[in-house]
């Protein structure tokens, strides 16, 4: 009986192997069948139904505008894409255009391996400088050897964007006569008022850890210079994490915790649970990214708004934000011109319109005559993104700085908030991770 089962399993494995071989063989078919037609192979990771239909629409319209061009789309989840792309980009029949994740471990490694096309010529040809601010472009830039992040040539263009700020409950604000604060001083005074009313000022849960980085770094972004945050994130010019500003940001966060501004028992509450509490009206505000927008627009009777963490009075401040996974071109693609045109289409006003309709923040400006509802919560996040993108105030997810930075920050923030360490200890412990990485890099 046992061996019978095993033969069955072996038979199934054999069938699956044959089936997968057959599947691998198909991509070469169309190009061989009709030589007059051009085929553009595109790999993307927009697998969720809404995203996927946006991509389908864009591809259909691109094909319609380019007779004889056929787009062969392959959709993968991000993990799959990241695992299979490196090898595929070295193949002659690999994707012409593919989404390549940002950061040293992904795009950096591929630039280093010499499989991505630098886009400098097309930046000039299509004037992409007008579409994105330099700070956005540098997220998709590397030196030719792939070692310096944030400088050198552009290797990808991102269609979508994210910004971290403050979601607030409009109903709670209205019934108490509170207004959206214009300065950080007003924001802190507001926290005090809300607490005095017996309402949780900031809905927060640090059990999952990673989102605590956003709470800390939102305050940090108000205190440090743009050069500093760029240097820190891109690992250049030997900056330290152990600075008075970072200690101060940690102190403010700790003070908020001690004053009871966060959800009661927040160390034991997960990210989704804290969002659900906020969504159900428990908590006046929450600090997180624009990706929560769609979630807050459905399944609740509360009205929500969004504002950027306000700067200290008389100052301007950056906000944490960034652009989504960019599209890149394979260096050995036989259709570089067509691929570049496709990239330009991915970041066109039409694409912006479609992403906005789907409730996702487009990285580029919407057309002037847009039909998308730019009022309400989505409009708030859109305005916030446009403000920081236009004024070159897009900050960084600092956990990009080193491969271990996110985990170190998470653990050290939990220790800080748990009363195990002081703000000075916190900055010193994170600096230890950072300087070890810089030392490793300079080897």
């Amino acid at each position: 009986m046992k061996s019978l089962k095993l033969t069955t399993i072996l038979a199934i494995i054999a069938v699956l192997l044959i089936a997968s071989c057959a599947k691998v063989a198909t991509p070469t078919e169309p190009s061989g069948a009709n030589t007059t037609e051009k085929t553009l192979v595109v790999w993307d990771q927009f697998y969720r139904p809404v995203e996927s239909s946006v991509m389908d629409t864009l591809n259909r319209e691109f094909e319609a505008a380019h007779p004889g061009v056929k787009i062969q789309r392959e959709v993968k989840v991000l993990e799959d894409l990241e695992l299979t792309l490196p090898l595929a980009l070295t193949k002659a029949d690999g994707p012409d255009v593919a989404q390549v994740n940002q950061g040293r471990n992904s795009m950096g490694a591929l630039v280093q391996a010499g499989v991505l096309l630098p886009l400098d010529d097309y930046v000039a040809q299509y004037q992409w400088g007008n579409v994105f601010s330099t700070s956005v472009a540098s997220r998709n830039s590397f030196s030719a050897d792939g070692r310096v992040f944030g400088q050198g040539s552009l290797y990808g263009v991102s269609p979508t964007a994210e910004v971290v700020g403050v979601f607030y409950n409009k109903d709670i604000f209205k019934s108490n006569g509170w207004k959206v604060p214009a300065t950080f001083e007003e924001f802190e005074a507001l926290l005090k008022d809300i607490k005095a009313k017996g309402i949780t000022p900031i809905s927060f849960g640090s059990l999952d850890g990673w989102n605590a980085i956003h709470e800390f770094s939102s305050i940090q972004h108000l205190l440090v210079s743009q050069d500093y945050i760029n240097n820190l994130t891109y690992g250049v010019n030997n900056v330290s994490f152990d600075t008075p500003e970072n200690v101060q940001a940690a102190q403010i966060l700790l003070d908020w915790s001690k004053a009871g501004y966060f959800t009661d028992g927040y160390p034991g509450i997960g990210y989704d649970d804290s969002n659900n509490l906020f969504k159900s009206g428990q908590g006046a505000m929450t600090i997180t990214g624009s990706w929560l927008t769609a979630e807050l627009l459905t399944g609740t009777d509360q009205q929500f708004g969004f504002f950027l963490m306000p700067p200290y009075s008389g100052k301007t401040a950056m906000s944490i934000g960034g652009v989504g996974i960019p599209f890149s071109i394979r260096k050995t693609s036989l259709e570089p011109e067509l691929s570049a045109e496709y990239l330009n289409w991915m970041i066109s006003p039409r694409a912006a319109e479609l992403w906005a309709e789907a409730g996702m923040l487009p990285a580029m400006n919407l057309p002037a005559d847009t039909k998308v509802d730019t009022k309400g919560l989505f409009g708030d996040t859109l305005n916030a993104w446009n403000t920081i993108n236009k004024n070159n105030l897009v900050g960084h997810y600092i956990d990009w700085a080193t491969p271990t930075f996110g985990d170190t920050l998470t653990a050290e923030l939990q220790k800080l908030l748990g009363g195990i360490t002081t703000p000075a200890d916190f900055a010193a412990a994170v600096e230890k991770d950072y300087s070890a990485y810089l030392a490793e890099q300079s080897k």
Partner: protein, 310 residues
């Protein structure tokens, strides 16, 4: 004590039936061996090989670094912390479940209880639920705002005991550990129930005629009789404690700070989040060696005086 089943098996060990060649059995093993070889043995070899390289898991090239990953490991305070937590988990995954399992099994067998099957099934249920579901459910039970545990504590006037269980530096490890206890005791209980049914009733009758009480019977008849089962329970639960990953992943992700970090989670984090495949493989290799060593040790102790395996 020599049990009939073991006696027969020792007589038949390593011997073919008369007139039959021993090699005839081997081809029958081939399909199973092939699957084992491809899906278990090769990956283990590959893990050991990877542990000698510096590799991000993506790049086509990787650099040979010899035993450098292992020397890093010994000096890594996080690894030592994680391994210490695994040892603490042995208390929750192994010792407490075996004690609770023994207690429940003897309660259920020594006296005829109405609804025996019902109790046995209900007590065993935690063991059959997927660990991810267990983690999600307990995360909810431990939730400080709306979790039933804190709600109950407040309701009975013990609000000072209500806390952010999974986010508390003192309580997170015992809280996650006690979920492990909840999952494991059912397995021990079923194992011991089966074992107890095999112990001859005559021993109990004879000893009670000699005036032994229930506790003495438990110590001198039940426990020695369950030796093989206790051996199996020890091995499986200790392995579970050493390789725990899913429960930590779904509840605390090693937090707060490093207070619930275990080696299994450290392997995942190094390999897939920090893209340090060589280092992760080194941890995995060490963990495998430790588990093998402990399993062999327990097998030795739980076998009887003549060295028969349990």
């Amino acid at each position: 004590m020599r049990l009939p089943g073991l006696f027969i098996s020792s007589m038949r060990r390593n011997r073919a039936y008369p007139g039959e060649h021993a090699w005839k059995g081997w081809p029958y093993l081939l399909p199973a061996f092939l699957v084992y070889f491809v899906f278990t043995f090769l990956p283990i070899l590959e893990t050991i090989r990877t542990s000698l390289f510096d590799w991000d898991g993506i790049s086509p090239t990787r650099q040979f670094v010899g035993l450098q990953n292992y020397t890093r490991l010994i000096a890594d305070s996080q690894f030592l912390t994680a391994f210490f937590h695994n040892l603490v988990f042995i208390i929750f995954y192994c010792i407490i479940p075996i004690l609770v399992g023994l207690l429940l099994a003897s309660l259920l067998t020594r006296r005829k209880i109405k609804g025996f099957t019902f109790f046995r099934t209900v007590l065993f249920i935690p063991q059959v639920i997927s660990m991810v579901v267990v983690g999600v459910v307990w995360r909810w039970i431990f939730n400080p705002t709306f979790g039933p545990l804190n709600v109950l504590l407040r309701a009975i006037g013990l609000q000072i005991w209500a806390k952010a269980w999974l986010g508390d530096f003192t309580w997170a490890l015992p809280a996650v550990g006690s979920i492990g206890t909840w999952v494991q005791y059912g397995f021990c209980m079923i194992l011991f129930l089966a074992g107890m049914q095999r112990i001859s009733e005559e021993y109990y009758e004879a000893s009670s005629l000699d005036g032994a009480n229930a506790f003495q019977q438990f110590i001198h008849i039940t426990i020695p009789g369950l030796r093989p089962e206790i051996g199996v329970a020890l091995i499986t639960t200790i392995i579970a404690a050493l390789r725990v990953f899913d429960l930590v992943f779904t509840t605390t992700r090693g937090g707060p700070g490093d207070s619930t970090l275990v080696t299994g989670f450290l392997i995942y984090r190094s390999a897939f989040l920090q893209k340090d495949m060589g280092y992760a493989s080194a941890i995995a290799t060490i963990l495998t060696v430790v588990i093998l060593a402990i399993s062999l040790l327990i097998r030795r102790f739980s076998s009887d005086s003549k060295g028969e395996p349990a």
